[in-house]
């Protein structure tokens, strides 16, 4: 006999309809559970695959994790098209629909508060990378310095003291790189300050690992912004304008997202490095 749990995707207020033509994780059928005027979008999942122990194993399988995360997000995103939606973290599981209903009953005031905070607002992500090529030393001029970082070909004056020439080159490389990083950090601060001014709330996340971004340039900033929908044009134009102004960095915008990063109040996020107005 199969044991099932109830996987929860999102909580919203309203009629309790589920998105049409969309399946949940593992192709499961979406349903809704209602209580106290709130609606949880759910599906029944086989605990042989989604129970605690199997989940631990499956979450380590990046293919399984990716498929599951995308399915989970697709449901949240579809629900969010129809109104303020509180996204649930991946793998929010209950023993039964009745337990979900009880949870909605217990927590309905908290959910209402979140729904009010996110109503007519969307999340944008802004990531900033050091630009490729920034931090390279300028081609050497004068003083017989070898150009670039060649390995000892035709340096002219540098050939007689290769060690000293090497050290000069390294210092110049390091100082160029430091300068580039310092300038990039200053750019990121300015971008963040200007975007925060256009936002209801802003949160700073850790930069992503290079191996996951697939980029060679380091990511120096990873921020999220909760912006009123009526300011969408203003915000996205500001991002474009800031990107043009700060040529030493590359600015990437993602969104609009359902408000994943803003579902609990900023005070509780203090240790996560949030910035808010």
């Amino acid at each position: 006999m199969t044991d099932y749990g109830t996987w929860v995707y999102a909580v919203t207020a309203g009629a309790g309809t589920v998105p049409a033509g969309l399946a949940g994780v593992g192709g499961t059928r979406l349903r809704s559970v209602s209580n106290e005027g709130l609606v949880a979008v759910v599906s029944a999942v086989d605990l042989a695959e989604y129970g605690e122990e199997p989940l631990r194993r499956n979450l380590e399988d990046l293919d399984w994790l990716e498929a599951t995360a995308r399915a989970h997000h697709s449901v949240i995103d579809a629900v969010a098209q129809d109104g303020p939606t509180v996204p649930m973290q991946l793998a929010t599981l209950y023993r039964s629909d009745e337990r979900v209903a009880a949870m909605l009953g217990d927590k309905h005031e908290d959910f209402r508060a979140v729904l009010d905070r996110i109503r007519a607002r969307v999340e944008w992500g802004v990531k900033i990378y050091l630009s490729a090529g920034e931090g390279e030393p300028a081609p050497a001029g004068g003083e017989g310095e070898p150009a670039g970082a060649g390995d000892g070909g035709n340096e002219g004056g540098g050939a007689s003291r290769p060690g000293a020439a090497y050290l000069r080159r390294r210092r110049s490389e390091l100082s160029a790189r430091e300068q580039a990083h310092t300038a990039a950090a200053a750019s990121a601060e300015e971008v963040h300050a200007e975007l925060t001014a256009l936002s209801v709330e802003a949160r700073v996340h850790k930069p992503q690992h290079a191996q996951l971004t697939g980029r060679s340039e380091p990511m120096i900033f990873n921020g999220t912004y909760l912006v009123g929908e009526e300011r969408t044009s203003e915000f996205t134009s500001a991002v474009d304008e800031l990107a043009a102004r700060h040529g030493g960095v590359r600015v990437e915008l993602t969104g609009p997202w359902p408000p994943y990063s803003f579902t609990f109040p900023a005070e509780e996020e203090a240790e996560m490095g949030s910035v808010h107005r």
Binding site: G5, V8, P19, G21, Y50, G51, E52, R56, L59, E60, L62, L65, A69, R70, H73, S74, D77, A78, Q81, D82, G83, P87, M88, Q89, L90, A91, T92, L93, Y94, R95, M103, K107, F111, V114, G125, Q208, Q211, L212, E229, T232, S233, T236, S237, V239, D240, E241, A243, A244, V251, E252, L253, T254, G255, W257, Y260, S261, T263, F264, E268, M272
Partner: protein
């Protein structure tokens, strides 16, 4: 993933694009439905994992309290994410750093 057909006005493309320095065409008050039209662009996995694993309402383990306390699965997903990422970086490394 097959996108839902959109009925809203065309909106700024998908989920991810570099800021080009030129103003983006954008309808004045883009309603939530407007996004449906162009959600064909694939969300980057790393951006997605940042959100579904570390954000949202339920946060278990040693981070902050949640609105909804789950009663079936209590994995510290934040630690698990680290181990998943480490596994991606260093083949053979698994199961370290996880806690309940």
């Amino acid at each position: 993933m097959t996108p839902e057909p959109g009925t809203g006005p065309p909106a700024r493309a998908g989920y991810s694009q570099p800021a080009t320095g030129s103003p983006a065409p954008q309808p004045a008050a883009s309603p939530p439905g407007g996004r449906a039209a162009v959600r064909h662009q694939r969300v980057a996995l790393v951006d997605l994992l940042d959100r579904v694993l570390a954000s949202g309402v339920v946060v278990t383990g040693d981070v902050t309290l949640s609105i909804a306390e789950i009663d079936l699965v209590t994995i510290s997903l934040r630690a698990l994410v680290s181990s998943v990422r480490e596994a991606d970086l260093l083949p053979g490394l698994s199961g370290e750093g996880r806690d309940r």
